[in-house]
């Protein structure tokens, strides 16, 4: 039984949902960050799946772009996380709420 497009999509949806839920539920910044990466990669999976399904290479090109951006974002995000940690001695996102009114 060859893998169908819908399998990939389902897996991707699952990964994405996990990522979303993780972002919403976790309080640890690092975990949230990983969940975001998970979401990005689930989207990558979708892209690749569709690319193969439609026999169109442009989906794979998008994957590369997403990976590049994700790498850049990871660098910036980790930088921010380190900065926050230095200031607050904590990785709990709920502590970083000083922008609230």
């Amino acid at each position: 039984m060859t893998p169908q497009l819908s399998w990939y999509l389902a897996l991707s949806a699952m990964l994405f949902t996990i990522g979303v839920l993780g972002v919403l539920i976790k309080r640890n910044v690092i975990s949230m960050f990983m969940c975001i990466e998970l979401m990005l990669n689930s989207v990558n999976l979708t892209f690749v799946a569709f690319s193969s399904f439609f026999r169109d290479v442009s989906g794979q090109l998008f994957v590369f772009i997403v990976m590049t951006v994700a790498a850049a974002e990871a660098a910036v995000g980790l930088g921010i996380i380190i900065a926050i940690f230095r200031n607050r001695e904590s990785l709990d996102v709920d502590d970083a709420s000083s922008l609230r009114l």
């Binding site: 972002v23 919403l24 309080r27 709920d94 970083a96 709420s97 922008l99 609230r100 009114l101």
Partner: protein, 733 residues
């Protein structure tokens, strides 16, 4: 006939202006600037003379010299070219505009010596020449309008030239706004011309037929239409009469006629005599040029011609009476200009287009002479303009005095001098004007009487000017009697006694040249009745040159008395030139009376009689002026006249103040502050209030934001999933 030299006439001054503006302002070298300015105008003068007088030049050939540069606008059947044309009319205009302009430039190099804005002044002057020549040489209405606006702009710049003088800026604005009122009429007239010609099948705004560009002359199209009849309703009917009246509104603004004349006197007071002069000699006659250029339209619109004649006559008289009571030497000349322009329009109104142009030309000579003379006086008097503080200048300024005498005698209409012939012809043609444009033959006599009265007044006020300036006791150190307009130029010279001095050569040479022209310039257009007396050359060269290009007034079959013959004389047929029939741009009028161009003996004797009357008028005016003012130069003139009939005050209360009040109280305080600012400020306030509510969404927890993003994403995805279910279904299958 194509000749590319024609564009040199207009572009040489433009180049001069550019060089002076870009290079001259850095060099600040008066010699360089003066040479560039004079050379560029000199170049166009030489070109204009060459093109006009060469063997098949504009003044000799039957066809105009054309120079089609590029197609400017082409939309549908509407077409406007950037094309120049020099026919006999624009040729004569180009000649005197360039020539007088050149003399003014030379004069200005001396007059403006030492001024900080030297380069600016000459750049403006050159730009003015460019605009004026574009106006004159344009081959269609729209390009003419470009020049028309261009001279308006330059006059604004020149009037407001002295940035530090209080009265210059308002005078400049006044000139600009009064001209705008007229331009409104002009541009509407041009639009209406296009509609009319389109309705006739050849939509056009061109003055000439241009087969190469497939353009038909709008004037010819209108000339082939049925003339309107004399009828007051025709003015508002949207036909030819409406066109003529709208165009005349443009001429009213540009040529300073009632009711828009108020800008000209102020313009004179605010500016240098030089720039004042360039207006007088050239720009203000643009209105006359336009009317004569459109003679084909006017000869189809008797009502409009009547309006032109009446406004011209009224302006002539009105301005002359004001001029008699002014004390500023330039203001006298300004009102005199308005009055003389009224004369020209009076002539146009009775169909005497050729004498009108003749008067434009002689007026350019003698008024330029007088203005330059007054400039020389003011220069010699160290910026004193009040005639009450002059007197006896004869022995200090001999050249100025002698040359101004020529101008004075010319404007008064003393025989041999230029003004005599043109003025005499205008008066004569007004007297014999046919019934075409006048509802009642009595009007001709009435208009003649107004014209004659104006001639007397002209002689009186000019004599007054001369007497107050050059004769009598020296009044340089008389205490100031009136503080309105004296010593405004130069406060340092208060109550100092200084000896007047003669002007430098660069100023006196143009004076002499213009004085000679004012003396002999009229001889090109001596009417038959007078030239035949001397047994000399019995041809009116000027009229013979011009009459092919203006439309004759249609003679009316039921004209009374002896006017039939006079009409014959009044409207000569387009004469044949070089064996071929001359082509009038307007086409021949259907019922031009046939007959020889030599008038019958009784008209000749009548015209001679009128010439005698003209001489009597001139001498009487000079005599009255001399008797009144020689003994008592500084006499109190009637207050009403001295205050110019309170026209400015009336305009202030009737028009300007209401507009200002409405603007301030209504438009500014209610509309601008209330509505416009209200909308802007209200928007800001709404945003502030909304933001005050919405900011509670900013809870500050990262996960909250994430949840909101998720919700948003779900909503969007849900929407697409719902509405785009088909697409999804397609994909799954």
């Amino acid at each position: 006939m194509q000749n590319n030299l024609l564009s040199l006439i207009i572009f040489a001054p433009l180049a001069g202006a550019a060089i002076n503006w870009l290079v001259g302002r850095r060099l600040r070298n008066e010699q360089f600037i003066g040479i560039v300015a004079c050379a560029s105008v000199g170049l166009s003068t030489v070109t204009a003379f060459f093109l006009a007088f060469k063997p098949d030049g504009a003044l000799r050939a039957t066809q105009p010299i054309m120079d089609h540069l590029w197609t400017w606008i082409q939309v549908g059947s509407f077409r406007a070219d950037f094309g120049l044309a020099m026919d006999r009319l624009s040729g004569i205009y180009a000649l005197f505009v360039t020539f007088v302009g050149l003399l003014i430039h030379i004069f200005a190099t001396g007059y403006m010596h030492g001024d900080r804005g030297y380069y600016r002044f000459f750049a403006y002057l050159n730009l003015f020449m460019f605009a004026m020549l574009t106006l004159v040489l344009a081959d269609n209405f729209l390009l003419m309008f470009v020049g028309w606006e261009g001279v308006g702009l330059c006059s604004y710049l020149l009037i407001g030239f002295y940035l530090d003088k209080d009265e210059a800026a308002p005078a400049a604005k006044k000139a600009f706004i009064a001209n705008r009122v007229g331009d409104w009429g002009f541009i509407l007239g041009v639009m209406l011309i296009f509609f009319l010609t389109s309705a006739a099948g050849h939509g056009s705004i061109s003055f000439f037929n241009k087969p190469a560009q497939d353009v038909t002359s709008a004037l010819a199209v209108i000339g082939n239409m049925q003339p309107d009849v004399f009828n007051w309703h025709a003015i508002f009917a949207g036909g030819i009469t409406s066109v003529a009246v709208l165009l005349f509104i443009g001429a009213i603004g540009k040529s300073a006629q009632i009711p828009l004349f108020v800008w000209l006197p102020d313009a004179m007071a605010g500016a240098t005599p030089v720039s004042a002069l360039i207006h007088v000699a050239t720009m203000v006659t643009a209105g006359v040029y336009m009317v004569v250029r459109c003679s084909a339209i006017y000869t189809h619109a008797p009502t409009a011609m009547f309006v032109v004649a009446v406004i011209g006559a009224a302006t002539a008289l009105f301005a002359a009476t004001i001029g008699i009571a002014q004390n500023d030497i330039k203001k006298v000349l300004a009102y005199s200009t308005i009055s003389q322009l009224g004369y020209m329009f009076l002539a146009c109104g009775v169909g005497a287009f050729v004498p009108a142009i003749f008067h434009v030309m002689t007026h350019a000579f003698f008024k330029a002479q007088l203005f330059l003379g007054s400039g020389s006086v003011i220069h010699g008097m160290h910026n004193e303009q009040d005639m009450r503080r002059m007197g006896g200048l004869r022995k200090y300024l001999p050249v100025t005095w002698l040359t101004m005498c020529a101008g004075w005698l010319a404007i008064c209409g003393v025989p041999i001098f230029a003004g005599f012939f043109s003025k005499d012809q205008i008066l004569w043609k007004v007297w014999v004007a046919g019934q075409f444009s006048l509802p009642n033959p009595l009007f001709a006599k009435g208009l003649w009487f107004v014209g004659a009265l104006t001639a007397v007044l002209t002689a009186i006020y000019m004599t007054r000017l001369m007497v107050m300036t050059f004769w009598g006791k020296e009044r340089f150190d008389v205490a100031q009697t009136d503080d309105d307009n004296s010593q405004v130029n130069n406060p340092d010279h208060h109550h100092e006694r200084h000896t007047p001095h003669e002007s430098p050569l660069s100023m006196t040479i143009p004076l002499v040249v213009l004085a000679v022209l004012s003396t002999v310039g009229g001889l090109v257009g001596v009417p038959y009745a007078i030239s035949s007396m001397t047994g000399g050359h019995p041809e009116n060269y000027f009229e013979q040159t011009l009459s092919p290009v203006v439309s004759p007034v249609p003679s009316n079959s039921e004209t009374g008395e002896a006017s039939t013959n006079e009409l014959t004389w009044l409207s000569p047929r387009p004469q044949s030139i070089d064996g071929r029939p001359a082509v009038a741009p307007a086409g021949e009028s259907p019922n031009v009376a046939t007959g020889g161009e030599t008038p019958g003996p009784e008209e000749v004797s009548q015209e001679r009689l009128f010439a005698l009357i003209s001489i009597a008028i001139a001498l009487a005016g000079i005599g009255i002026g001399w008797l009144m003012f020689n003994s008592q130069p500084v006499r109190q003139m009637p207050r009403l006249l001295e205050n110019k009939y309170y026209v400015d005050e009336i305009y202030d209360t009737a028009i300007i103040n209401p507009i200002e009040d409405t603007s301030r109280e209504g438009l500014w305080k209610i509309f601008d502050l209330g509505v416009i600012d209200g909308i802007v400020n209200g928007l800001g306030r709404v945003v502030t209030y909304l933001a005050r509510v919405v900011r509670y969404l900013q809870i500050g927890f990262v996960r909250g934001y994430a949840a909101i993003i998720l919700a948003g994403a779900l909503i969007i995805i849900g929407y697409f999933a719902y509405s785009g279910a088909n697409v999804l279904r397609l994909l799954v299958r």
